[in-house]
């Protein structure tokens, strides 16, 4: 085998070229079985009898794009609250627990009224930060003390993190959730013999959630923001760039929310949010693993059938304004000099999204155009890449490169644009397009290998608009022609639709460079 001749290799490649799209007569498909309850909740099931587990989850069709100024970050914060228990899970005295929560809220309402005065003092320049601990007026300290006493009383009745504890003791693992601009996804893996536990726990938190520890959890979210946004080299600037790129659309604010909004979110707002968006008709569940479909149907009806259909949540109506001028951001950070070019393109399942995926495929990879040109031929970058980010309501195409040696972000920008122009104006070799399509054929299989990853794809695609995308994507992408690629290259990559982020190493750090 090691003595394989080039001739043998060429033969194999030629064979593959002819077979690429039809290795098995068709592209990979996931055998998803779906059903819907009378209350509108959809279930997707993929049986994997070889496993000893079931990985299960659900998506609420809501994310930060459903928010508005004043409550930014509520989707993500709310995701945290869904782990705080239910009427039955998390307390030894449900009646008193609920009373305490009401009493706490009364105090917090008074605190928010004081914060209104604090913001007034802040506007007048009397204090530097309306929420700083050392700027607290005495009445706020008094209220805080009363609130802390209620927390202590509630804690004495609580069974801490019982939701997690029950799952953990039964051998469930990987419990987590994430929130994006468009979706909120919850997931866990349970031993196959404990499938009913998942139905019990998940339906209970949709039926009878109790938002305990609302205000200490808010501090955790502040820490999460510090962790992801404020303590990373480029986090703050990525947030700024997003805010700059999206003008009118709700994608303009960060998923984690503005800190000043987080500071005044109320329990009442959380309850309204839950009632609006966590209706069964706005939720889809998925299960991948070792189970009988009839059992899943029976359990779904028995447990989730108890949920009542609610009015359809409001649509996101704000469309992104047509961009009329090029935008530029210049940031200094503890980072390698780099550039990002971002163009307004198209959302999830738009008919041009497939050609844009192929276009990104031509640019990416070790043999792709960006690496070959910027890293190998010109030696101006240490890395470069591109991707089409198809969100639910709108999309963007990004190109990024990190500078090497004496190169500058401006030089990288020119080189990236030159590659886009080449795609638009020059012929695309057949073999190069075929390479990208071979990768699509293969990845259509590879992405089914992990049950957990398969579950996430089903839930996210469903949240973005249609889970069937998982079975349509490969065929629609394989149908893309050279002409399609050249057409989208001409249509979407012009200066007026573009924002550019230039990152320079900041002066303080530059000084410590040799």
């Amino acid at each position: 085998m090691t003595a394989m001749t080039p001739r043998r290799l060429l033969l194999a490649l030629a064979l593959f070229e002819g077979l690429a799209a039809t290795v098995y007569g068709q592209t990979a498909k996931v055998p998803v079985q779906s059903f819907e309850l009378a209350n509108g909740m959809t279930f997707l099931a993929v049986q994997r009898p070889e496993l000893t587990t079931v990985t299960a989850g659900w998506v609420a069709h809501v994310g930060s794009s459903n928010e508005r100024p004043g409550i930014t970050g509520i989707s993500h914060f709310f995701e945290h609250m869904m782990f705080k228990g239910t009427k039955k899970i998390g307390t030894t005295n449900s009646r008193r627990d609920l009373e305490i929560i009401d009493e706490q809220e009364t105090i917090q309402t008074q605190i928010r009224a004081i914060y209104e005065q604090q913001r007034e003092r802040f506007r007048l320049g009397e204090i530097e930060d309306p929420y700083a601990p050392d700027a607290r007026p005495p009445e706020l300290v008094t209220l805080q003390t009363r609130f802390d006493a209620l927390v202590a009383e509630q804690r004495a009745l609580m069974v801490k993190d019982e939701f997690d504890k029950i799952y953990t003791s039964e051998g469930a693992s990987g419990m987590n959730a994430f929130t994006s601009q468009d979706v909120t996804v919850y997931f866990i893996t349970v031993p196959a013999n404990k499938l009913e536990l998942w139905f019990w726990m998940e339906s209970d938190r949709l039926l009878h959630p109790v938002f305990r520890e609302f205000y200490s959890e808010r501090d955790v979210v502040h820490e999460e923001r510090r962790l992801r946004t404020e303590s990373t080299p480029t986090g703050k600037f990525e947030e700024l760039f997003d805010a700059m790129f999206w003008q009118s659309h709700p994608y303009t604010w960060p998923v984690v929310g503005w800190p000043s909004d987080l500071q005044v979110l109320s329990l009442a707002q959380a309850r309204t949010y839950f009632d609006t968006y966590y209706a069964p008709n706005n939720v889809t569940a998925a299960l991948v693993g070792n189970f009988e479909l009839d059992a899943v149907k029976e359990l779904a009806e028995r447990y989730f059938g108890r949920l009542e259909r609610r009015p359809e949540p409001p649509d996101v109506v704000t469309l992104e304004m047509e961009q009329t001028a090029e935008k530029e951001m210049r940031a200094s950070c503890d980072c390698q000099p780099q550039v990002e070019l971002r163009y307004h393109t198209v959302p999830f399942r738009h008919r041009d999204s497939y050609a844009l995926d192929v276009l990104a495929g031509l640019l990416n990879g070790q043999s792709g155009r960006l690496y070959t040109s910027l890293v190998l031929d010109q030696g101006i970058a240490s890395d470069a890449g591109a991707f089409q980010d198809s969100k639910k309501w709108a999309g963007a195409f990004s190109l990024q490169a990190e500078a090497k040696g004496d190169s500058t972000p401006e030089r990288l920008q020119q080189a990236l644009v030159a590659e886009l122009v080449k795609l638009r104006d020059e012929p695309i070799p057949t073999r190069e397009l075929q390479k990208v399509k071979n990768q699509i054929t293969a990845s259509a299989y590879q992405r089914l290998a992990s049950g957990f990853y398969l579950l996430l794809q089903l839930l996210v695609y469903d949240g973005l608009g249609d889970w069937q995308y998982i079975n349509e994507w490969a065929d629609r992408t394989l149908a893309v022609t050279v002409e399609d690629v050249k057409r989208v290259a001409a249509e979407y990559f012009d200066l007026d639709r573009r924002a550019v982020a230039f990152y320079q190493r900041n002066v303080a750090s530059a000084e410590v460079q040799p």
């Binding site: 085998m1 090691t2 290799l9 593959f16 077979l19 098995y24 819907e36 009378a38 509108g40 496993l51 000893t52 409550i71 782990f83 039955k88 601990p133 050392d134 504890k165 029950i166 953990t168 003791s169 051998g171 693992s173 031993p191 013999n193 009913e196 019990w200 200490s216 501090d219 955790v220 502040h222 820490e223 962790l227 404020e230 303590s231 080299p233 309204t272 949010y273 609006t276 009806e301 447990y303 059938g305 108890r306 009015p311 949540p313 409001p314 980072c335 390698q336 990879g365 043999s367 890293v375 030696g379 240490s382 040696g405 073999r431 075929q434 390479k435 054929t441 290998a449 750090s509 410590v512």
Partner: protein
Amino acid sequence: MSRCATLLLALTVTSPLYAQVIRVAEPDTIPDRPETIAFGPLDFSVPDGDAYRHQLSNGVVVYVAEDHTLPLVSLTATLKIGSYLESDEHVGLAGFTGSLIRSGGTERLAPRDFDEQVEFLAASLSSSGGDTTASAGVRSITPVFEESLALFFDMLRHPRFDPERLEVEKGNTLEAMRQRNDDADAILGREWSWLLYGNDYYGSRRMRKQNLDAITRQDLQAFHARYWRPENMIVSVSGDVDTPTILATLERGLADWPGDGDSNRWPPPESMHVVVPGVYHVEKDIPQGKVLIGHLVPQWTDWSNPDRAALQVMNHILGGSGFTSRIMKRVRSDEGLAYSAGSSFSFDPFQPGTFTVSFQSKNETVALAAKISLEEVRRIQEELVSDEELEIAKGSLIQTFPQRFDSAGQIASTFAYDAFIGRSHEYWQLWRPQVEAVTADDVRRVAQQHLKPDEVVLLLVGKWDEIAKGDSDGRATMADFFGGAVTHLPPRDPLTLEPHAGS
């Protein structure tokens, strides 16, 4: 809530008709509590590692686990070599050789042609070099696996180490080195490994610019020729393969490559570093302090020792199991001081392992979170854990165990790792009974034996003036640790790793 949404809430919705009619449930068939649900048994038995084990005529051990669910094949060659084999002037050579095997082309194919052929096959080929292990792998869909494997063998045995590609890689590595102080976590990891293992130990030393400049193509060729050899290699294969067929293919591909001698000085040398407990700090202008607290624990080679199970149960209760663990409960859930907080206890077969508490908190509350974490470490040494905690930890460890064998890839790599560290496959048969046998007394005993809360290294990256004075309610300050003594570690030049002049 927006006005728009409030108005919508008042609307009624007509139910559409569904093709599939599902019967209405009886509400009283829902158990009152999840604990009262009756579960059937789980159908699982621990697979026998020996059943997957094979040996080629040149001595290479191969583990093959078939899975024909999808047309995908994966093969990994793991080698018992690494940076422990480098000389002092060649720091970084093992890693560089590892990455250049993949990126530097083959004697037959220039790097660009090799990359293009790999990507045209939509295969994934990789190679890398670490401290005590190097590996190379190939993944592809079944119809082109034979062609992909031919490229893999070509890469593994006849790498070109193309001079131009070497220069590209050196330039990229230099850029990566420039970023060494950009992210607080990178500083934290570097200083932590130096404090625990010393900065000249193979597992913790870092490549400096002078090492990078000194690396030549001949060095790579020599390291490859000397160490990337069959006698150091274990192969694992999983997926859509037929065992006799893949073994015959491997035999053909490797038969003319005899494995002889012991070229690799296995096992790697131990660290001689003497750890000095105390508070250490690196200044970084970030709003959140990054913290590691811990110490070395003994190297682990006796895999039949049941204390391994007791230590795992102990760490699960203390800080290893997310929300259910004590440190997470107090630091995050009760106090809201951190997004993530927990502990780990590592069983390292080649060097002392580490017990580590880690979290990140706004600078002002770093001391408070550290104080709470150490209180919990002391408490698990002093008090017996509750029966409930013990049962949850054991239940979790035992019931999540089958997942370790839930795919062909995991089966092959798990047993190949046994062979790599010289552990009997019997280990997995003993695993659950040993966990089942752990008592509260065992947990306290191993905590007393292995945890040393008074002899920790407490490393902080963040703003010292804010960290030192502690929280606004006066619950903790850094004066609470080691009598307030602190060693301020100097900022380091990212390329030479020497302290900056004047610091």
